[in-house]
Amino acid sequence: MVVVRRRPAPAEHDYEALFREHAGAVYRTLYAFTAGRRAIAEEATAEAFARAVAHADRVRDPVAWVYRTAFRLAVDELRRERRTPPEAAEEVEPVPAGLGELVGALRELSPNQRAAIVLRYEADLSVDEIARRMGASAATVRVHLHRGRNRLRELLGAEETEESDDA
């Protein structure tokens, strides 16, 4: 016989510790998601953590919550930019040295493909974990990964290995 316990109400989380531990990773994901928009990535990251604190009483899984919120905030900001007249739009920040080719290639992917790829290959997360953080199904994530990988191979080149998404 197995004793199981019902999932408790949202636990109290140390958001400052979560911020210290995860903010960099969230930022890097958003940096890729926005294809190198440093200011948007930073604002979405900080705002998402701040909102998580504000809603701590109903956030069960703060890391996934922060990712999903940050994605949504970044999408909103990118949309807002598209509605802004070009002369008033924020200028694209310079790309850090060594990342120019990568950022250029990321811009050829959809935002969700970028996010899935960076969470899989930069953060080494499983497909299920990526799905949790993106608020998508695992099947959807696999599609994004498959499309994103193919496109990056075209743009950046391939060598030998092939990796499974089912880790």
Binding site: V3, V4, Y31, R38, E42, E47, R83, L102, M134, L152
Partner: protein, 536 residues
């Protein structure tokens, strides 16, 4: 050895945020939408305001579609609906407050003068009245005006623009339950000063039992609107009626209580039935080509005053779970088997099907024992087992147990991440069942086991697909693909050549010349992956 593109991706590990990120975090949230709804006026057009000298021109002003700023704190207690008219930010604004809840008014037109220079404008909306959310208040709630503006006219109408009340001063919410539009014409005397009109939405509701039992949703270009913020269940679930379904490929419920699970109905149908539990949900109309995370949503509360929903989740903190077999033949109806298998019910306890209605089960035939409205035991029968077998979870000290007709079977301990009660894992089917929908294919299981003669497939055509295609995913154009054309609404076939591994499944259409459109290269997103396991 990683591919080159992977090496490039890993360069991102050297990317760090700026030094001010922590400071920004500590500053707290900015620009968060007001609770409880997160609806957005996406449809309003762009803004343009011209400052002129002495004269005033009527120019078109566009709403921005941005999320609203948090409303001011309600000035009164919960017995009063406070209409706050303010010009603190240098332009006319209005907000409704009730207790801790609030709603910013949607401004349609205004004229505002500062030092004799005036600006005027009017907004265009794709939907009239421009009400995109509802504040829930009791009927007959008095409306109190606060702030530095004055009400010239306050008009209350039904959502289909039938007038209910009109007044030049403070008044109250209608006495009947229902959803209403509140339109306010306001003025600000002096300089700066001017005038503006605003729209609000309120739902008058005296109790959950008075909430409408159908969720009516309007899907529009860039917006989703419901005609109630509180809806109640019916015996078989949540009933939904949708207008504006053209171009909509699915309706989703997202962000519900607990995990962010989704329930989907749709395929451009004007409504449907959803088996979601009571709680707070967001309804999204998913347009063709839209991503899930960008769908406009409307938030509503699903209430269950009549107890139509029996939760399969046990209400206690500590429970035990065990698998069992029984002496009850599988030919016995599961309702009868459940009654025979569960013992120890107290007076007032009720053994009932989990979820909505007796026939709506989430995982196999599942029954719960309700005691005082809480689920204290759960019996999950394995569909198709003979004799009946399954699993039984029960709250400790409830006194509920299995009858002598059941024999306990030891369960393997579950890991820490499986701390929730969960149904037993399903066995891997040996037939791949594909349902061709407008969204693409839906498969009933993401794993399938080969049979001796190959991969067995049953395809159900619910969206006029012409061909079902099964192919390997990674070999490019020359990958093996098996295509079977639909002659009927259902097709069963065997793909003999497949070995174990991942396959991708798609439902495809033909053009007027009979040529297949789309395909793996053009639309890989329309393919669903399935893992094929070796034959037993």
């Amino acid at each position: 050895m990683p591919e080159r593109w992977e090496t490039q991706i890993r360069k991102l590990r050297g990317v760090e945020p700026g030094p001010d990120l922590g400071t920004r975090f500590e500053e707290g949230p900015r620009g968060e939408p007001p609770p409880p709804t997160r609806q957005r006026v996406v449809a309003a057009v762009t803004a343009l305001a011209l400052f002129l000298g002495a004269g005033v021109f009527a120019v078109r002003v566009f709403g921005t579609g941005e999320e609203s700023a948090p409303p001011p704190a309600a000035a009164g207690d919960e017995a009063t609906l406070v209409l706050e008219l303010s010009s603190n930010d240098g332009e006319p604004a209005a907000a409704l407050g009730y207790g801790d809840e609030g709603q910013d008014g949607t401004r349609e037109g205004y004229r505002w003068c500062v030092d004799g220079e005036c600006v005027a404008g009017i907004s265009d909306f794709v939907r009239y009245p421009p009400v995109f959310e509802l504040l829930v208040v009791p009927p007959s709630t008095p409306i109190e005006v606060a702030g530095d503006g004055s009400v010239e006219r306050l008009r209350i109408s039904t959502m289909d623009d039938q007038p209910v009340e009109e007044s030049g001063g403070p008044m109250q919410v209608p006495a009947s339950n229902g959803s209403y539009v509140v339109e306010v014409d306001a003025t600000w005397a002096g300089d700066p000063g001017g005038s503006a009109n605003f729209f609000f939405g309120v739902q008058a509701l005296d109790s959950p039992a008075s909430a409408p039992d159908v969720l009516r949703v309007e899907c529009g270009p860039g917006y989703t609107v419901t005609d109630a913020a509180v809806v109640r269940t019916q015996a078989d679930g949540l009933h939904v009626e949708v207008t504006g379904a053209e171009g909509i490929v699915a309706y989703s419920l997202i962000g519900g209580p607990g995990d962010p699970e989704a329930a989907v109905i749709g395929d451009s149908v004007p409504g449907g039935l959803m088996g979601v539990p009571p709680g707070t949900w967001e309804f999204a109309c998913r347009e063709q080509g839209e991503q899930d995370d960008t769908d406009p949503t409307a938030t509503f509360e699903l209430v269950d005053p009549d107890g139509n929903y029996a939760s399969p989740e046990l209400s206690c903190d500590a429970a035990t779970e065990q698998a069992f077999t029984s002496a009850i033949p599988g030919s016995t109806a599961h309702e009868e088997a459940a009654e025979q298998l569960v013992s120890g019910l107290e007076e007032g306890d009720r053994l009932r099907g989990a979820g909505y209605g007796a026939e709506t089960f989430k995982v196999g035939p599942t029954y719960v024992v309700e005691r005082g409205g809480d689920s204290v035991a759960r019996l999950t029968l394995d569909a198709g087992s003979d004799p009946w077998a399954g699993s039984f979870g029960v709250c400790e000290e409830s006194g509920i147990g299995l009858s002598e007709l059941a024999t306990a079977v030891q369960l393997e301990p579950t890991g820490p991440s499986s701390a929730e009660l969960s149904p037993p894992p399903e066995t891997v089917p040996d037939v791949l069942i594909v349902r061709c929908e407008e969204l693409g294919p839906a498969v009933e299981a993401t794993q399938v086991r080969l049979q001796e003669d190959g991969l067995h497939v049953e395809a159900l055509n619910v969206a006029h697909a012409d061909v079902v295609e099964i192919r390997s995913p990674d070999a490019g154009r020359d990958a093996f693909a098996h295509q079977t054309a639909f002659d009927e609404a259902e097709e069963s076939f065997v793909v003999p050549r497949f070995g174990p591994g991942e396959v991708w499944v798609a439902c495809r259409l033909t053009d007027e010349n009979g040529k297949l459109v789309g395909g793996f290269e053009a639309e890989p997103g329309s393919y669903v992956p399935v893992e094929v396991l070796p034959a037993e």
